[in-house]
């Protein structure tokens, strides 16, 4: 019974704390960066960025394997100073972006340090690239001749073998997108990220011969020492014990063809980028 009473007290406290947190978060969201444009603060912010953010977002905030390029504007989760503050402070649910202080590396940044980081990010931002392409034609290519939609979804329409590209245009730099089209095996896209595991799965290619001799080709969904999970070219999901297979091999050669100039002329590429970056508009 006392346990229950304690729980009640706890719940009241917890609610109070949550209300306070929500209130302060709102305050931050409306906040303006007190250090905006201050080069000295940007320098301090660079150190903080390197220590706390660069592991995922890369040196110079240019994006790493797992974190988006932050030199891009506008930011996917809000581009106002206060919104970026919130993104850093509370994380982005459903992504690998943790709340400030919950990375298990370091204690997290103070309010001042977060503003320094924002000042730094602003100092390395590039002007939004002016995409000359024709987004309408890009959409036609995506769902038509360029056959992107065979393997990629965009806003719920398309295939399942490759990553969903709905948000890719706003999360990744143009250079990254171009590289992904022209040379997809250079840097494989990241797949499932498990809560306590350091590294995400990647879109590796698998060739499998099952115990009964059936041959499969597909994209690796996950793997451990004893089992593999993959989706085959017919979009069937499989899970096998490795010992039960006749053979299997995985490769870092992406299933996606490298779209060279012949397959996708520069103009078409620009149209496609305009479609992806413009959010399908």
């Amino acid at each position: 019974m006392r346990v229950q009473a304690r729980w009640q007290v706890f719940l009241i406290c917890a609610t109070a704390i949550l209300v306070c947190l929500a209130a302060s978060a709102t305050a931050f969201a409306q906040g303006k960066n007190p250090y905006a444009g201050d080069a000295k603060m940007a320098k301090l912010g660079e150190s903080q960025f390197r220590a706390n953010c660069a592991f995922c977002h890369g040196l110079g905030a240019r994006g790493g394997g797992r974190g988006p390029d932050l030199t891009r504007t506008p930011k996917k989760h809000g581009d106002a100073d206060g919104e970026i503050f919130n993104t850093i402070n509370t994380g982005v649910p459903g992504t690998a972006m943790p709340p400030n202080g919950a990375t298990q590396q370091g204690v997290g940044m103070t309010e001042e340090e977060i503003w320094q980081v924002i000042t730094y990010i602003r100092s390395v931002e590039k002007k939004p690239s002016t995409l000359s392409g024709d987004a309408k034609h890009g959409r036609e290519l995506f769902y038509g001749n360029a056959t992107c939609a065979t393997c990629h979804m965009f806003e719920g329409k398309g295939g399942r073998l490759g990553p969903d590209l709905t948000g890719a245009g706003t999360a990744r730099s143009t250079e990254y997108l171009v590289e992904s089209v022209r040379n997809p095996s250079r840097r494989l896209a990241q797949g499932i990220s498990e809560a306590m595991k350091e590294f995400s799965a990647e879109y590796e290619t698998v060739d499998v011969v099952s115990g009964d001799g059936t041959k499969y080709k597909g994209t690796l969904l996950n793997e451990d020492s004893f089992t593999i999970q993959f989706i085959d070219l017919r979009e069937q999901v499989h899970s096998f014990d490795k010992v039960a297979l006749k053979s299997w091999k995985k490769s870092r050669e992406s299933l996606m063809p490298a779209y060279d100039e012949k397959m996708l002329p520069e103009k078409d590429l620009q149209d496609l980028l305009a479609f992806l970056v413009g959010g399908g508009k």
Partner: protein, 565 residues
Amino acid sequence: MRIKRGVSTGTTATEFEFEGIVDVEILRTSFDVIRMTALIVCCVGFVLINGLAAGLANAQVTAQRLLNAGQEPQNWLMYSGDYAGKRFSTLQEIKVGNAEKLVPKWAYQTMAGGKFETTPLVVDGILYATGQDDRAFALDARTGRPIWQYQRALPGDIRPCCGRVNRGLAILGDKVFMGTLDSHVIALDTKTGNVVWDVTAADYAKGNSFTLAPLVIKNLVLVGISGGEYGIRGFIDAYDVNTGERKWRFNTVPGPGEPGNETWEGETWKVGGAPAWITGTYDVETNTTFWTTGNPSPSNRSVGRAGDNLYSDTLLALDPDTGKLKWHFQFTTNDDHDYDATQVPVMVDEGGKKLILQANRNGFFYVVDRTNGKLVRAESYAKVSWSKEKDSNGRPVPAAEGKPSPEGNRVCPGAAGATNWMSPTYDPQTKLFYVTAREQCDVFSTAPQPYDAGHAYYGSAYFPNDDAAPFYGALRAIEPSTGRIKWEWKHPSPTWSGVLSTAGGVVFTGDAEGNFIALDAASGKALWHFQCGASVYSSPMTYAVEGKQYVAVAAGSALFTFGLP
């Protein structure tokens, strides 16, 4: 009515049930008699059951029992199982021939997030362990049912480096000892979990914290501080087990006038780091305790702290009674890659020599004479690029081109090291040393920053490099006499699980994919595995109750045990 009264006055659940059943006033007197009788029966029954199930639960752990821990393999009396740090058990009910039949026995859920790094202790049927956010608990080791639970009320502004973790307890008499994230050392009563004493060791606001399992030697409890990422000044402390009074402190960064202070540039010794965040070992023959230390601060930038930076990344031989230094051996001088030496210094006697074996975070496997601190051998056991040559004593020395640079410099091993705090094991039957290795190189770049008390003080940054080949982990079986790798079990990705070896010829480890795995100690062949559902961040142990062997490992928020059906 009574139900309500029961709630408001905090009556126990047992009384609540009685009152709910008996609702007629006239039966009141006889009910009281029944209740009293029931109480007596319960008490007697409890004593009987307790006596039967827990066996010697009331016999206390003495200093002598700790010295002879190997002679009672049903128990696990300290972090590494024995004073030598071998993490080897002579239990052999589970062996190569039957390991495939292992099944889960029970799981205990802390329901806490973050890394669950504990190695439990087991004493005569009772299991004692710690959990995330400075929990501690005692369970019936046979059933997993809790006997008591302790949760420390931590301040909101603690500054642990790498998660709100704790790796375990030490035990002596009727107390278990714990270091806390707010830099206290506490003693809990073994039967109730009540706090017996609680002392402050350091100021947590400056970045000091405890994460290790303490080590009891005689009547002292030894602890080492964490916080090398905050520019703390490291130390190893000894406290009286009965009172909590501090008996000595060894500063791992010498002050002015002390030998070694000259290895620090200017005033940098004040924020020199060199924490001691992994449990040491103890050689009773020479009355020496061996401890290892972590990186100098700032962790990845040596500019401004020229010199060897003693005693960072060092093996220390201390007198456990006084804390006086007998000798030291520094693995990495003037470190700027976070190559902590905080791996258990394992004591092994081989070929008539008394040795310390350590697979170091810097990628070398060191064999040191533990009578004098002289290096016997250093061989790489993982990819190494920070050192190209050895000095006249055979000690690897840093190469100039391995320094962090503004635009980044690719160095192997990466910042997480070729191994880390997860325990290795030495199996006296196979005479092999098993260690969790990590193959990852990182790009180290400088990020100068001023020291600011209580704030992270890295001075640099690192990122996984852009290699085409992904990083991976491996369990490697090293032959100490040559440094050669006899076999390896490759993990798909790097793991933070330690290793346990047993007389049944089975070694146990876990992986980042959530598997807990039994391997043949001789060949490295997998015998059995169980999917725990979350990455393993702990070092396994084993014990027995009523003659049945259990293997325990923490993963996710659960402590799992396994045994034969």
